[in-house]
Chain length 183, copies 2
């Protein structure tokens, strides 16, 4: 039961805030989000830009992949398995290599197996592990979707110069250093 008690406290007015920072430079994201206040710090602004840009691009890619009946994570997994070659990989290894974390590799692979894109098999040496390999159908699916992904990603970033891309990559890698690895 939610007490839902009526708060005796009226919502504190958010009226003219007392000048928190020099809002001299109206930021682009601030306008996009129709925010009235300026960001509390450059760190916050960078973080929000990062998350928003990532979300927009992932969404764009998602829309492109949808007609092929495959999600970004599934595509990512297939790429990983193709790269791993015929030996296959364990669930843990796949998890480590995924661009963004998935706490349930088992069912992710289960879905891919149900569609015939991968095949799973208990390890012969260590019977605890399950080795997953990509199938011919999986390779075909990748062959079909690779150009879509490549051209989408390229199209999203084509307006930046090589130098700008390198700077961006460098900054992102350095930014990531303080974030704990996804576990």
């Amino acid at each position: 039961m939610t007490p839902q008690k009526k708060s005796s406290r009226t919502p504190r007015d958010s009226g003219p805030r007392k000048n928190p920072a020099p809002a001299a430079k109206p930021s682009g994201l601030q306008a996009e989000l129709r925010q009235t206040k300026s960001f509390s710090s450059l760190h916050a602004e960078a973080f929000l830009n990062l998350v928003r840009t990532s979300a927009q691009m992932q969404h764009a890619l998602h829309l492109k992949l949808k007609p092929y009946g495959i999600t970004e994570t599934q595509y990512n997994s297939l790429r990983i398995l193709r790269g791993a070659g015929p030996h296959g990989l364990t669930c843990a290894e796949i998890g480590e290599r995924l661009v963004s974390r998935d706490p349930d590799i088992t069912r992710l692979l289960g879905r891919l197996e149900r569609e015939g894109l991968v095949r799973r098999e208990r390890g012969a040496k260590d019977r605890r592990v399950v080795l997953t390999r990509i199938t011919g159908a999986g390779l075909d699916r990748l062959k079909e979707t690779d150009p879509v992904v490549n051209s989408t990603v390229h199209g999203l970033l084509a307006h930046l110069s090589q130098a700008e891309l390198k700077t961006l990559i460098d900054l992102l890698e350095r930014a990531r250093r303080m974030a704990a690895p996804l576990k």
Copy 2:
């Protein structure tokens, strides 16, 4: 020799690279993902870095917010509602301002209402819309979580200089220009 040929400034190139030889320039992300092949293009490398960095930072924030019983999107919504003041906002307006898209604002707000953090009410003038306002309890929750979010975000990016942050922000905003707005 690096595959990074400096062709004339046309960003074309980045054709399929079959070169299985060890990459001359081992990128940081490539090592992180234990990839054997080099990235097919700078665009792909930038995209993957972007998505991964965003995911790691969001995950870090998620872990910090979890003890307070609130998700990132919920926190974002409450911030938006606090910023909007006592007039409240419609579902559509909230959706526009969310940093990352949520296709189901109704139930997102429903969960917040169930916890007493927001209150909803049909618009008097236009009875189609539902105006949502933050409650006292919602403001309290924000007061509790704001320092956590601020310090987390700050901690994640504190090792970058102001100039680097500004460059990063600028590049992200420019990168975003080609991505369709989240809808």
